[in-house]
Structure formats: C-alpha cells, structure tokens
Symmetry: C2
Subunit: 432 residues, 2 copies
C-alpha cells in the first residue's frame, strides 16, 4: 500500500517531512573494494584491467581483445530489428536538435574604461561514457549521454561497456555507431572507470566520465572525481504526477507504474485535489500491475515508496512539489503552463494530459539523465554544458590598469598580500 | 631552486610528465572527525553547533549569540578604512557587471510536428557562503562568492564565518553588508557546513554551499554533497606565465611571486622561449623575495613547486599549457590574443604585458574562484550558473504524441519496459 497523506489533515507537515526524508537507496559498502581496484589499475594499467574483466565478466580476454573494432560494432549493429534502429534514429535526431539550442554563447567586450573582458566556452577534449552491461544496457542511455558531448564539440568520445560472458548487446552497438563513438572498449565496473580516469597503455585518459552504473561504478566515479570530471551520481528514479479529476485514472495509473517498474527503489507520487479520483487511480494501479511483466518490481516500489497526497486545491501542490523537487513532474491538469510557472524545483516537467513521462525517456528531445533525490533544488539534467568549460579573459593596457589598479592595490594590501599589490604597482611606475 | 625543464632536450617528455603528476596537496586525514561532527549536528542541531564553536573558536556562545544582528554588522563595517571600503565598492560593481552577462537564456519553441519544448533556468532557493576566519578571511572572496548568487537571483544568501577568540573581521562584515547577505552566523568548520546542509532549530537548510575553507571544511563539503550542492573543492593556487624576452624580468618575477606568496603549496611556472630571459627572471625572483613580508612562504613555494620551462618557440608552449590546464594563465607576449586562441584549458587568461594576474583577483570583473590542479580540463570558474538550475519542458497534444509515440513505444519495448510503452499506447488508443 502506498503512503496516504492529506494536506488538509492535522499532522500533515510532520508526516510530509518524514516522507521527504525517508531513504530509498540501499547503500552497498563497496568503497574499499573499489579503492583497491582503482589503485591496481593505476599501477598496472592494461594488465589489471584485463584481469578484473576476465574475473568479473567470466571471459578470457587478452589486452588485444578489449577494443571493439569498428567492423565488429557494425556487424553487431546489423543484427538489430530495423524498426528499432529507425526509432533510435528518430530519437537521435530529436535529441541532437534540442541540445543544439543549449549551446552557450561566449562573449567579449570592452568596458567604459578600456578593459577588455571575455568569457569563452570550449568543449572538453575527451569524454568517457559508461554503459552498463546485461539487462541494464539501455540504448536510449547511449544516445542521452553521447549526444550532448557530440553537440558540445567533444573531439574524442570513448565508450566502455562490459560484456558479461562475452555477450554483446547489438542495440547498444547500433546506438554507439549512430552517435559516432570513437572508441568502444568491452570493459566495465570500477576497472573501466579507472582506465578512463588514469589512462592505461592502450586507453588514453579522458577528461570527463558520464553515464549510469551499479554501486561499484558509482563509488569509482566518486573516487576519481577531481582527476577527471564526472556527471551526477544518480539515485533511484522518481515521478510526481499532479492530476485533477478530469483525467482517466487508468492513464495516470500507468504513468505512475512506468517509474515503479524501473526498480524497487523507484518512487511514484500522485498529488490530486479529488479524493475519489485518488481512489480510482489506486484501484487502477492494482489492476494494471497484473498485466506487467515487471509486476514484482513495480508492486514493491509502489507499496514501499509510492504515495498519494490529497490537497485542498491544485495550488496547494506547488510548495509540496518544490520540496520534493522531483526528477520527473507530470502536470495532468487543465492549465499546465500556469501551474508550471509557479514551480521552481523539477528536473523535467511534462505538460498536459497527452505528455506521459515516457515520451521524455526516449524521444521528446530533452535529456533523460535528470537530478534525483531532491537534487533538482540545486542541479540540472545532463546537457551540453556538462561537456564544456569556460575560460575568462582579461586584458588591460597601461591606461586602464592605471584606472583600476589603485583599488586592487588597496584590497591586496588590506589582505596582506604584498606581491599581489607590487605586481600592479610596478606596472604603474609607483613605489616598487 | 625551481625545477628547470627544456622542451628541446632529450627526456623532456618524461620529465614534464613527472612534473605534471607531482602532488602539491597535503592530505590531512580529517574525514573521520568530520563525519562525527556532521552526524552530531544532524542529530542535535544548534546545541551541537554551539558546543563545537565554543570548543574550536575558544568562545562561550549560547544559541542566541550565533546570528550576528544587522546593527552589529554595520557597527563592525564602520570600523573599516573608508578607502578600502571604496575599493570594495569599485570591485563589487565591476564583478556584478561582468557576471550579469553570464545570465543564461531560457527558451521555448514548438517543433515541426507540434511538440512544445523548452528549457527554463531558475535560481536556487538559498545559498550558503563559507568564509574562513582568522588571516584567511578575505573580503574579496566574499564578493566573488556572493555576487554570482545575487546576480543569479538567489533569494536567501546565508554567510557563516568563524570568529576565533570572538574576533570579528570588519572588512568581511563590510563586504557582507555591501553584497546584501541576508543572514550572518559566526560559526565555522565542519559544524557550520553541517548546519547549512541539514538545517538546525535556528538555521534553515540551504540548497547550495560555496566558499573556501580548510581541510575540515573541504571534507565536510564532500560529505554533504548530494544533500546540498557544493562548488568545487579548490586545491592550492597556480599561475603559469608565458613570457617572451621583451618583458621586464622584474615584472614577471613579481607575478610569479604573487601566487607563491599564497601558500607553500602554491605553484608558479614560467614558460619562455629565451634562456637569457629565464635566467634574468630567476635572478629577479631571488631579489624580490627579500622585499616580501611573506618571503618564507613564497620562497618555499618557488623552491618546491616552481618551474621554468624553456621552449624553442612560443607556439611550443600551447600543448604544454593545455596539459597543465592552469588556474591562471598570463600571456605576456606581443600578440596575446592569437596565442590565447590556440589554448583550450585554462581557468582565466590574462592578456598582454599590462594585465598582472592580481588585477583579476580583485577588480577586473571575472571570478577569482577558478579550477585548480588540472581541473580546467573539465571545469570552470565560479559563476552565475553555479547558483541556477535548469528544468526541461515538454508538451505534446494528441496529434504530436501520435507522430512520435510509435518510436518511443518501439524503444521502450526493446528495453523491456512495458509500462513505459503502455503509458504512450493508452493515449493513442492502441492495445492497452
């Protein structure tokens, strides 16, 4: 049974707080194991990477087997259902098109006293994309992680993907080929993250590592952060649906289940202003669950983490949504734009009755890598900026330095940094 | 003696690599102590914060003493030298003006099949600014950390600053007043970071924590990351100066020392195409050192981490600069713009002979919080974007959903996520 909360009931504030702070993630203690693997990869390079790969993926590779040749990638990709590949192509085109609008603008100007100032964006040199193996190998994730890098202008895009028991996922290869990955290595886990971060004899170090992974991968990314950049460490997926009574309860039930089926730790929340509608959705969830292949996962998620929150009016949903700061927010209401305008914290907002969240997972255009666990309060979905960095530019001439130099000297001296002050003085021919 | 490298000499590649990978940071093992403090603050709130503050700062506060009243801030600020306050005002105006140009643009459009798509930037709700106490309390850092938040539109800006032995730094108060900090708490260390991240009875939780601090503060920020956003964890400061023989060796020497005086772990590097000039700068550094109050610090930094690299021509400096990815890059050459155009990795570039790095520390306009330790390969200086987050928007109607829904269903089914597929199907009146 999902949690039931009524914003009009006494004690709601306390219950909502408890709900907000309930943990969904299982913390696996893998950090020590990961530290040892990373150290080993750093010291022994390829040799260590191959040993761990052979052990964890039950294969018997040599160093030469790690890089997947382009021909092999093409061969695997050719095994895919053409209709699915066509769908991938539609998705790739739409995702690229949306992300192109996110390219930031560099600027340069000369201010009123003659100081030239600028801000220049440039792409990171090389990006590494982690793709999980086995059942969690999602071709849509390849598109969502690789395309922003491509749009940003990253010159070298490297993919690592484990192939447990030697099995290659053809759709992942099709996606890699489609987006133009430059190198694909059939390795995974902490050893793959280490290889990308430190470099080995055969794999050149990258500057940034992105992509989802299990607890080992997440711990490895945390540890190599600083040596390379990383994307966020994603928690379990979430959806919050705000729906009025005019919706078909069945539609909303399926939307809630589309998150719940990801993972038993996933979370689906319904906020509605109609108690009867809430009951109807709950009943529909029970019926729909029976039809799902991933019924057990979805049922566990709904029972353990699901919630139905009744509010006196839809406007009362706004502060609750901001506090949850959901990864995905569906506004299945008559005037979704007005409601969306009042909300600050959400990774992505799906507007209206004909925009199920799943359309954003695959094909709408915006990224599906989004902030989880309330982090939409301070962070954003993956985008082009994650593969770029900014350099500031300053140019003074003798006259403009003379104009502002005195203030800088005053501050440097107030902070007790004499060489700072002298580096300006000396150019102004003052006491040096 | 600084390290001497000659890019034309055999073995340079190996020596440069060793130089790049030499560690400058002392890693203090404070993580366990910090974990205990954070846990305590989380559980006991104000009571714990006050206890740690009294112990570490040698004061005897009660909970009521922590918040500095506006009147007290004004009183302290009034003690400052008016000339220094005027310099702070000049700096604040220039920093705000530069940062206003960094405000990102939201967008919304309807694509060719009728899907409405958007990207909306908004400010984080509340930001916490850590300001170190004692000698490291730099008013310039208050401006550089607070103004991007203000420009971003952050509604609530909270400052924490320890006051060891009860001593308040008037210039820090003047800076806080100038930028319009909303709340100032006289607490520091891991306990202050914990209070901002988790909230206490008297301090409301923030969404993002920025600002420099010692090893305890850095460890605490790493640990609370996820609960709140944090800025980068800054390493020791660096400057790389590319200079030709037309410079006054004395000017370049002082520039190198202006980083070296920060910290014994700071690093100053000169790259030049003239061996005689290199020698002249080295000699000037020795002479200039004698004149500095912070001579011992600067001398240790230069001897342990300094480097002079000789290149056959200035163009040979480009790949070396990109590999160092310096926090500060000074191009004291005849045509700095052309050289800057070839460089990808640098936090900030100072162009020409009249732009000493120190002008950027205080007054030029760009931020002085910049990526260190080679992280300019993948990250940027502090800016307005650090206090904003992006929400993506998608709106389909029945017709546009019908247009792209089929591809999404194909991908959802290929990934084995049936509820995802059904959430689209059901709206298309297909098999549901």
């Amino acid at each position: 049974m999902p949690r039931k909360l009524d914003a009009g009931a006494p004690g709601f504030e306390k219950d909502f707080d408890t709900f907000l702070n309930s943990k969904r993630e299982m913390e696996e203690d893998v950090d020590q194991a990961v530290a040892a693997i990373l150290k080993d990869v750093r010291e022994r390079g390829d040799e260590a990477v191959v040993e761990y790969t052979n052990r964890f993926d039950r294969v018997s590779f040599t160093t030469d087997d790690i890089l997947l040749p382009k021909a092999r990638i093409a061969e695997e990709a050719a095994k895919c259902d053409p209709a699915t590949v066509a769908a991938l192509q539609v998705a790739a085109k739409r995702i690229a098109s949306y992300h192109e609008r996110m390219l930031p603008e560099s600027f340069e100007y000369t201010d009123e006293i003659g100081v030239r100032l600028g801000s220049r964006w440039s792409a990171v040199g090389a990006a590494g994309l982690y793709v999980p193996g086995g059942t969690a190998a999602y071709p849509s994730s390849v598109l969502m992680n690789a395309l922003p890098a491509k749009v940003a202008g990253v010159k070298r895009l490297v993919m690592v993907v484990p192939t447990p028991d030697g099995v290659i996922n053809p759709l992942v290869m099709a996606a890699a080929q489609l987006v133009g990955v430059d190198e694909v290595y059939r390795i995974g886990g902490a050893q793959a993250v280490g290889a990308l971060a430190y470099g080995t004899q055969s794999i050149t170090q990258v500057d940034k590592i992105v992509g989802p992974g299990n607890a080992f991968v997440a711990a490895a990314k945390r540890r190599v952060f600083g040596t390379v950049g990383i994307d966020m460490i994603a928690g379990p997926s979430e959806i919050l649906v705000v729906a009025d009574a005019e919706n078909d309860p069945d539609w909303i039930a399926v939307d809630l289940l589309s998150q719940a089926e990801h993972d038993t730790s996933a979370q689906s929340i319904l906020i509605t202003d109609d108690a009867g509608f809430a009951d109807a959705v709950e009943a529909a969830v029970i019926r729909r669950l029976e039809t799902l292949p991933r019924k057990d996962i979805a049922a566990a998620s709904w029972a353990q983490h699901g919630a139905v929150i009744l509010v006196p009016s839809l406007d009362h949903a706004v502060p609750l949504v901001d506090r949850v700061a959901p990864e995905h927010l569906e506004l299945a209401v008559a005037d979704p734009d007005t409601l969306a305008g009042k909300i600050s914290n959400a990774g992505a907002i799906f507007l209206g009755r004909y925009t199920p969240e799943a359309i954003g997972d695959y094909i709408a255009g915006p990224n599906h890598v989004l902030p989880t666990s309330r982090s939409a309060r301070f962070s954003s979905g993956l985008g082009v900026l994650d593969f770029m960095k900014r350099t500031s530019l300053v140019a003074c001439d003798a006259a403009s330095l003379a104009e502002i130099g005195g203030s800088a000297v005053a501050l440097a001296e107030a902070e007790g940094l004499q060489a700072h002050a002298r580096s300006i003085d000396i150019r102004l021919n003052r006491a040096s």
